[in-house]
């Protein structure tokens, strides 16, 4: 398989390498995936009785979500820093930043866990209202994306990365850039989820 061209180097006339283009196309489809749900949210909100969404929305925990937003933003910046460290050939810094990213991601999940359980404790379930339904669906899908991303991040934080660092530095940098694009996208989704679910 190694004879597939442009895995790392850029194709001159398109200026892209395969994985870069691939991940952006993947993100385009993710935009449409969340787009379908956003569209559902807006549609249902307008079709719902006046004030229904606002009333249920006010039951959410804004401080927790704000904290989560900050966590994700932090994880995003450390993600890009870890990539930059690789480019600067500072492998230890790379590991440190990636580690912080992973910790932020895990912390996000923990906070989310407490948010969910506190809702369940108050007898609030997805079936409690249309708002709660879409809230759990959107955030649930987002959490799945975080978990998926974390698995990849942990893989690149493990011993595996040392091996790759020694064998093919460019490949590692490329993989981290790709993973980073995905991770930033997950952050981006949250940036929109946060106001429409918690603040409006």
């Amino acid at each position: 398989m190694s004879n597939i061209p442009y895995i790392l180097e850029e194709r001159p006339d398109t200026g892209l390498n395969n994985s870069k283009l691939g991940v952006w196309i993947f993100l385009a489809s993710e935009v449409m995936l969340f787009g379908g749900l956003f569209s559902a949210y807006v549609f249902l909100r307008i079709a719902a009785p006046e004030g229904d969404f606002g009333y249920w929305g006010s039951k959410l925990n804004v401080p927790m979500a704000t904290f989560n937003t900050l966590l994700l933003i932090t994880s995003s910046v450390t993600m890009v820093m870890s990539w930059a460290s690789l480019k600067l050939e500072q492998f230890d810094k790379y590991k440190m930043y990636l580690g912080i990213t992973i910790l932020c991601g895990l912390a996000f999940l923990v906070v989310k866990y407490f948010e969910y359980t506190s809702k369940f404790d108050h007898g609030i379930y997805p079936s409690s209202s249309t708002f709660m339904g879409i809230y759990f669906t959107l955030t649930g899908l987002h959490v799945l994306h975080i978990i998926g991303g974390l698995l990849v991040l942990i893989f690149f934080w493990s011993k595996q990365s040392d091996k790759m660092w020694n064998e093919d530095k460019d490949l590692l940098a490329n993989r981290i850039e790709i993973t980073g694009l995905y991770w930033h996208f997950v952050d981006l989704v949250w940036i929109f989820l946060f106001p429409i679910l918690y603040l409006l």
Binding site: G15, V31, M32, T66, G180, L199
Partner: protein, 101 residues
């Protein structure tokens, strides 16, 4: 992305930190605004504007879109158009209905 020399990366790192600070500030702003007594429409526009600014920052700087190839930009523009179609046309059908809900 363009310019992978050491200096440019170091320059980038400064940008990343600045973007991070702006994102954090904007998050606080948007939460603060939500505690103000404004009408829904106003709140809506503020929240969406702030979110869009934050989103653009992430896209442009963290995801390097600002220096990305045209092909990627066009891909995303197409996607955005499709997304907006998906978002708005069903809404129009809510208002342009015979009879009511």
């Amino acid at each position: 992305m363009a310019g992978n020399s050491k200096e440019s990366i170091e320059h980038h790192i400064k940008i990343y930190i600045n973007v991070f600070i702006s994102l954090a500030v904007l998050t606080v702003v948007t939460v603060a605004v939500s505690y103000l007594e404004v009408s829904f429409i106003e709140a809506f526009f503020i929240a969406i504007t702030v979110a869009t600014i934050k989103g653009s920052l992430v896209l442009c700087y963290f995801m390097h879109l600002i220096s990305e190839r045209q092909a990627i930009i066009w891909l995303l523009v197409t996607t955005l158009v499709a997304f907006l179609i998906l978002l708005f046309i069903p809404l129009i059908s809510l208002t342009d209905q015979v009879g009511g809900w």
